[in-house]
């Protein structure tokens, strides 16, 4: 249902959609039931001429049930949601599968620089491919990402991956994703980062193995050697 509006193209995006659905259905059912009961009682017991309001202390067990039972149900459903959420958190945030490749993401006011490993598959070599506002990845490959900020707080968000991770200046924050479909999708900053925050979009281009290899070759300079340069490529200014 959610993927009808925002495509689901990472290995964990369906898990997150399922979690959102679980919360929506449980909260939605009880919200509408509770509001329905409230509305019924308002209409059923609306003020009437000649009828005096009755004070109810709520000490009778029959009356207390109206509070106690929903309370127990809330606790039960909370536990259900928490268990499901921890499972997803464990799979997405606490587990780092072996990386096929690593990309570096450098955020700044108000642009993204993406450092791709070149043909050698390694970062910080002379064939690294640095692009502004454009990230190229291969479908089916597990990527680790390294998030850096040049200035203030940012947040790396790829809605189709259901991925969102804050970026904190002075720290390198790592995570992972694995794209499951090809296509061009949005990347956005989801942390207010200054006057140009709304003008900080980028694109992720997910390619087949053949297309990605062709793109890497097209961007690899003929002179590129596979040695580590003296200064780290894509580092802080």
């Amino acid at each position: 249902m959610i993927s009808k509006y925002v495509p689901s193209v990472s290995s964990f995006s369906n898990d997150i959609d399922s979690l959102i659905w679980l919360v929506t259905v449980i909260v939605g059912f009880w919200f509408f039931l509770a509001e329905g009961v409230l509305l019924y009682l308002i209409i059923r017991y609306t003020a009437q001429d000649g009828v005096k309001a009755k004070y109810i202390a709520g000490e009778d067990p029959k009356e207390k049930r109206w509070v106690a039972w929903p309370h127990y149900l809330t606790l039960g459903f909370d536990v259900w949601i928490i268990v499901a959420a921890i499972q997803v958190w464990q799979n997405v945030k606490q587990t780092m599968p072996q990386a096929d490749e690593t990309v570096r993401v450098i955020a700044q006011q108000w642009a993204w620089t993406f450092v791709h490993p070149g043909a050698d598959g390694k970062l910080d070599t002379s064939d690294d491919i640095r692009l502004v506002d454009e990230l190229h990845v291969e479908k089916g490959k597990t990527y680790h990402f390294e998030l850096n900020s040049r200035d203030v707080l940012h947040s790396f968000s790829v809605p189709v991956f259901r991925l969102k991770q804050d970026i904190i200046p002075g720290r390198t924050i790592r995570g992972w994703f694995k794209a499951t479909q090809t296509g061009h999708y949005d990347i956005q900053c989801t942390e207010i980062c200054g006057i140009g925050h709304a003008l900080m979009p980028a694109r992720i281009i997910i390619e087949t193995t053949e297309d990605h290899a062709a793109w890497v070759m097209s961007k690899t300079p003929a002179s590129a050697s596979l040695t580590v340069p003296s200064t780290q490529v894509g580092g802080m200014p």
């Binding site: 006011q109 108000w110 620089t113 502004v132 040049r150 006057i195 140009g196």
Partner: protein, 214 residues
Amino acid sequence: MHRMKKSHAAALGLMLLVASSCKPAGAKKTLPGHELYAACKSCHGAQGYGQQNIAAPAIAGLPVWYVEAQLVKYRSGIRGAHPDDYEGLRMRPMSQQMMDTGEVKAVAAYVAAMPPMKQPSTLQGGDATAGSGAYAVCTACHGPDGKGNQALNAPPIAGQHDWYLVSQLKKFKSGIRGTHPKDITGAQMRPMSMTLADEQAMKNVVAHISTLAK
């Protein structure tokens, strides 16, 4: 009581009807320069004198053709799209706030009409006398008085912040600026920056530019 409820329901219905019939104004209008400049103020300042702490240059009084040309370059990724151009990458999205060429022209005209001011010197260690010799190369385009020459696409540089001039010389020399295939005027400036051997040479020539009257 019932009459009151009916009147409330009728009022609510009327409000919904009015709300549903409202449409946003269809015709897009080009905003005037002073309104567009509101987005520039936070970096370039209300008077357009710039701020060193965020590397924003003075723009007040720059010729309209130059401001417009730079905005077009930023908007199209010809300038400010290099991964190492930290300040340029910040300017690029701001230039995209203008919705069309009409708004670019409007804000450029507003900036050009702002009264310019000679910016104070901040650089240490520049030798203006030594720099005056190196400046001979620059006079061909920027003129001996540093006031620029539209025919050669050379902007005025006299009165500009000295730290900004050095930073741009460094960017031209390292290829951060002036290397985009469509940056014709940047490509003209880049080899000129190569004539300055090192940072000291840049400081010297900028020290000389700082002696020129705005």
